[in-house]
Structures are given as structure tokens and as C-alpha cells.
């Protein structure tokens, strides 16, 4: 999978590395802004109050 991705990327090795770093940064940002907050509502403890 990742080997295929490496082959698909254009340019010399340093350009591919730069492209990958940017791609990883974009993915991480998307995770933190959208994905993780959505997942959190499904898995985190929700009850902090005392109720009857």
C-alpha cells in the first residue's frame, strides 16, 4: 500500500518526502478538527453529574 503510494508520487525522492510530510500534516489536522471530536462522543465517559 505505502510502497505503491511511494511509486505513484512524482518527482525526485526529496520532493516525494515533502509531499508526504504535507499530506501527513493535512491528515493530522483533519483528524484533530473533525474525526477525533466525533469519535470522542462515542467512546469517552459522558457522566459526570449526580442524578437520581
Amino acid at each position: 500500500m505505502y510502497a505503491a503510494l511511494w511509486r505513484v508520487l512524482p518527482g525526485p525522492w526529496w520532493l516525494r518526502v515533502i509531499i508526504l510530510i504535507v499530506a501527513v500534516a493535512v491528515v493530522l489536522t483533519a483528524l484533530v478538527i473533525w474525526v477525533f471530536p466525533a469519535v470522542q462522543t462515542l467512546v469517552a465517559p459522558q457522566d459526570v453529574t449526580v442524578t437520581k
Partner: protein
């Protein structure tokens, strides 16, 4: 050249076959097991990233945001502040209960300041709704309890970890630690008295005199509730504080009359 180095003998001779091998491997078709392995490793990394975000990074980010929000709120309140009516700090004002999910106060606890992060200064909203208050990173005021400074019990709840972890360090309070509630009128100072651990159904902690139902209150109490132990909802941890003093918001005083202990925090200076 040092003897014993791991440089293989005759490197130049093996270089070409190695490159050829690499080229051959690259042309090999992608195997199902190989892709599955990479997917599983990726999933593992994502789970670790999520945990790191949820239990650590998020609370730092949210803590700083909430501090900024509270500092701005304080500025807005200072703009509309008028000199307090005569009687000074002997009069303890009690505000009307606000609408649900409306932010009406801020909590300041110097004991919970952590190095490298914004000082502990976070908004309190009305209500304890999970979706509209607590998961929006606020502390929530139990609407059935009294308001700050009112005789009885001012009870608030928030998350222990994740969603900002507003009460993450609730167990680290020392007897006598000051807990401040800032409102438009001024600052209510409470002193931490003790911790209590109850079942999730232990609503006695919300009584006007905590755990003594049906008694007419004479004291002003603050009650903080969160979940316990960490990352679990099996129990509730409860912290009580007793009211000491009210500092009115006063434009004629430095920091608008904020207690010296938290003046820098509420003005957003230093950290």
C-alpha cells in the same frame, strides 16, 4: 579506516545486484497480507494518536481556549462595571439564574495552574446537559441548586478528563485552597474544605446543606462534582468549599477589585 567496521567487503561489487533485486521487488504485485498488515499498523497508529489527543493534547488546547474566553468575558464585564453601591463588600449580591446553557460565571482555582499552560480560568454555564453544556467544554451549574453567594449550595459539574478535563485536578486541592467564582458583580471567594466520594446516584451532595436534606441552610457552600476514578464513571468525586468573602467589581480599584491572588489571571497577564 578503523578495523572491525561493519562496512561489507567488496561493496561496489554487490551494489548492482542489490539494485536489481530492489527493482524486481518493486515490480512484484501487492499481496493481500501485506496490505492487511499495513492497514492494521495504520489503525494502531490512529488509535494511539486518538488517545494522545483525547487524554493530553485536547485538554491543553481547550484549557488555553477557555482561558482566553474567560479573559475576554472579564474585559466585557469590566467595560460595563459601575461603582458598587455603598455598603461595599458587606453586601453579597446574588444574580438571577440565567437561561439554560448561558455562560454566567468563571471558575478560577490557582491550585490548578500548570506550568507551560494558561492559568486555570474557565467558564461556567447554566445547566448540566451533556450535549449543550458539558461536552461544549464548560463547567455546568446544577439548575436545582443555588447561585454563587446565595445561602445554600452552589453546585457545578464537569469532566474529569477529555472535553477539556475542567476538574482533572480536583483531587489535588489542599484544605484552605481558594476557589473563586467570577461573575459580572465580582468575585466570590470560597475555601476548599474536603473531598467526598459518592455513587452516581448520590444527589445528597446537592442539598442546600450537603447530605443533610430538609434543613434550612445558613452557610454558603460550593460543590464541585466530577467522575471518579479517572477514565471511569463508576463513582463521583465531590469537592466542597465554604464561602469566605465577596470582592465587588469596582472600576476605581486596580484590576477592577479582583482579589490580588488572581488579579493577573483574570487580566490575562503572565501565566
Amino acid at each position: 579506516m578503523i578495523l572491525g567496521m561493519t562496512e561489507p567487503v567488496g561493496d561496489g561489487a554487490t551494489a548492482r545486484p542489490k539494485r536489481a533485486r530492489r527493482a524486481r521487488r518493486a515490480r512484484r504485485r501487492i499481496s493481500v497480507v501485506g496490505v492487511l498488515g499495513e492497514v492494521l499498523i495504520t489503525a494502531g497508529v490512529l488509535v494511539l494518536l486518538f488517545l494522545g489527543w483525547q487524554l493530553w493534547l485536547q485538554d491543553i488546547i481547550v484549557g488555553n481556549q477557555l482561558h482566553g474566553e474567560a479573559v475576554q468575558q472579564n474585559k466585557d464585564w469590566n467595560k460595563s462595571a459601575i461603582a458598587p453601591v455603598s455598603g461595599g463588600s458587606d453586601v453579597i449580591p446574588v444574580a438571577q439564574a440565567p437561561a439554560n446553557a448561558q455562560k454566567f460565571a468563571d471558575l478560577v482555582v490557582p491550585r490548578w495552574n500548570e506550568p507551560g499552560q494558561a492559568p486555570y480560568y474557565r467558564p461556567i454555564a447554566q445547566g448540566i446537559g451533556v450535549a449543550d453544556v458539558l461536552n461544549k467544554y464548560n463547567l455546568g451549574h446544577y439548575p436545582s441548586t443555588q447561585m454563587p453567594g446565595e445561602v445554600g449550595n452552589f453546585a457545578i459539574a464537569s469532566h474529569r478528563s477529555a472535553y477539556g478535563g475542567n476538574l482533572h485536578l480536583i483531587h489535588e486541592l489542599h484544605v484552605g485552597d481558594h476557589i473563586f467564582v467570577a461573575t459580572q458583580d465580582g468575585w466570590y471567594q470560597y475555601s476548599f474544605r474536603n473531598l467526598e466520594y459518592v455513587h452516581p446516584t448520590g444527589v445528597g451532595v446537592l442539598d442546600p446543606v450537603p447530605q443533610v436534606p430538609g434543613v434550612q441552610p445558613t452557610d454558603r457552600v460550593i460543590t464541585l462534582t466530577s467522575c471518579n476514578p479517572f477514565y471511569s464513571t463508576a463513582e463521583r468525586i465531590v469537592a466542597y468549599g465554604m464561602f469566605d468573602k465577596f470582592y465587588p467589581r469596582d472600576p476605581s480599584k486596580p484590576a477592577f477589585g479582583a482579589p490580588t491572588e488572581i488579579a493577573q489571571t483574570v487580566l490575562g497577564q503572565g501565566s
